[in-house]
Symmetry: C2
Subunit: 330 residues, 2 copies
Amino acid sequence: MKKPIPTIRDVAAAAGVSTATVSKFVNGAQRFSAGVEATITQVIADLGYRSNPLAASMITGRTRSIGLSVLDVANPHFTSVVKGANRVAQQHGYNLLLVDTDENPDRERPLLEALSRRVDGMFVISRIPESEMGWMMELGKPMVFFGHLAQHDIPWVAGDDRRGARMLARHLVAQGHRKIAYLGFSKSRRDEERLAAIRECLAGHGLPLVVHDAGAPSAREGERVCSAIMLGADHPDALICYNDLMALGFMKAAQTLGFRLPDDISVAGFDNIQFGAYTSPALTTVDLQSERLGAAAMELLIGRIEGKPAATFNMIEPQLILRGSIANRV
Amino acid sequence: MKKPIPTIRDVAAAAGVSTATVSKFVNGAQRFSAGVEATITQVIADLGYRSNPLAASMITGRTRSIGLSVLDVANPHFTSVVKGANRVAQQHGYNLLLVDTDENPDRERPLLEALSRRVDGMFVISRIPESEMGWMMELGKPMVFFGHLAQHDIPWVAGDDRRGARMLARHLVAQGHRKIAYLGFSKSRRDEERLAAIRECLAGHGLPLVVHDAGAPSAREGERVCSAIMLGADHPDALICYNDLMALGFMKAAQTLGFRLPDDISVAGFDNIQFGAYTSPALTTVDLQSERLGAAAMELLIGRIEGKPAATFNMIEPQLILRGSIANRV
DNA sequence: ACTTTGTAGTTAAACGTTTAATCGCAAGTA
DNA sequence: TACTTGCGATTAAACGTTTAACTACAAAGT
């Protein structure tokens, strides 16, 4: 036995004005005579009227929600991105419509296509190669992508992976490491930048790089590959992981195997997830500023949605976070 | 120079049928003669027609999105809840409209009120006391709450906090601990259940309980309160934390102060966040099944939205996860 | 042959807003 | 006085669907 939800027409009738007047009043789009203003205010309060945003969206073509497609919300790196994005969205009066593609590229297309009609714009964190992204442009909504893109007319936001990787590799060399390995995740578009920068830096010092590849960017996978890396003839003296999750998993497994960290092997990762600070040794990492990236992406996107001129991309400076997981071997 | 988006009317005109026919066709609501079916299929493909869900929502009153209000997405416990909720929502063809209240109860009301008109139902994780939740019921949408509620007509989903707390306290006693402390977070509705169960269990063994209270359920706060707990005349031999985040922070700070874990003090938490497994010692915790809770809440909510008879609440069994952070003092 | 039943498709009225165009009126201007 | 200007308020047409009620017609039953 619910009372029917009052419409703008009910308000107009009760206040003795037209619906247009009520609409303009609610949207603060005009000045009003004192009498009318008082009456409408009163009636709205009495009836408990609240504008129906769906109906408004039909006319204005704006929904005040933004689609956010993420690879895995439970990955703390992406969680931070979401957090930053959501903060900015909320500040501007937008809500996030969340999609989690669960690291499965096949899910992205149907989910994004369905999403596109319900939002004003989309922030997309994807594993789809840039060359296969054509259909996304047909979606007809403003978009911003996570991660560096080569095409210059598509907006993106990214940390400077190359620079961060270089900083880290340089530091390892300076600390006297000579047998450095990289545990990558080649399905990610960002992996190749990191790998290239590391390799280049080491080559500059005449050092080789052993590369391993993980099947998922997860702690579990880091644990799994540990024995393959450590139980060979001579294991590396330092390991750079594609991300902190993998590094955490690797460290745990290595310790379980009886290795001492960082004496037997130094470990480092990317992302600076919160939990890297709580292991022993604490994890050295490249902070790519996840939350700021999310926020910057949202600023960019909302700028485009609201038609304000804005840059097409935004590269944020990384920071090397030094903690106990890297030994000094000099 | 964008081409205008085709409407159902464009399709109807091009196919030589009425809009009603097209509508029924896309919703699979009727059988059609072979000719009509073929024509419509063809025209839809040619024009690239996609139904506008906003317009449909106006009529049906259904949006196929569900509001999820969360205290802090970046808290791994809630991240898991979101993950589980989102999985089930997606399975049923719903999207989550996310709201993050940032542990600030004052933000909840305006955000939820705005949200309520755009969704079919809401899953609310709140810090608002049950006695002040009246206005939420006026929102006129199906709702499910996170955490135990006393009122029996409001649907909720929760882990069995009392049972989990009892299991943990009992284990500590069995392992020979006699000076047990609790680091709580009294702003949470769930804190009091845990505290009560622990106190009751210890009282049964004639043991006292020292209670501390944190200002936030965060690792940082766990670090901050460490010295107050450990540097007194004689510190506890075991500490139960309101959640794993606080436990992680506490452990780190205690180790920094020179204490050895678990020899000097045993530590345990709640939630079984992934990262408790990667510290040294690894964290003993009560797994309240965050992800299953999120999923169960969504099942319950969707059941109510779609008018299927369902239970009003769902209590999920906790599990004690024993790891290295608890010593054997017998 | 006449009625009934069932089915494929149409008509037209919603749903609850926004907004361009218009209007009436009072105040200001020439 | 007559003409303009500005402003508060109205009119009515959208926006893109769904759906109850209806129609036309063919097949089946009597």
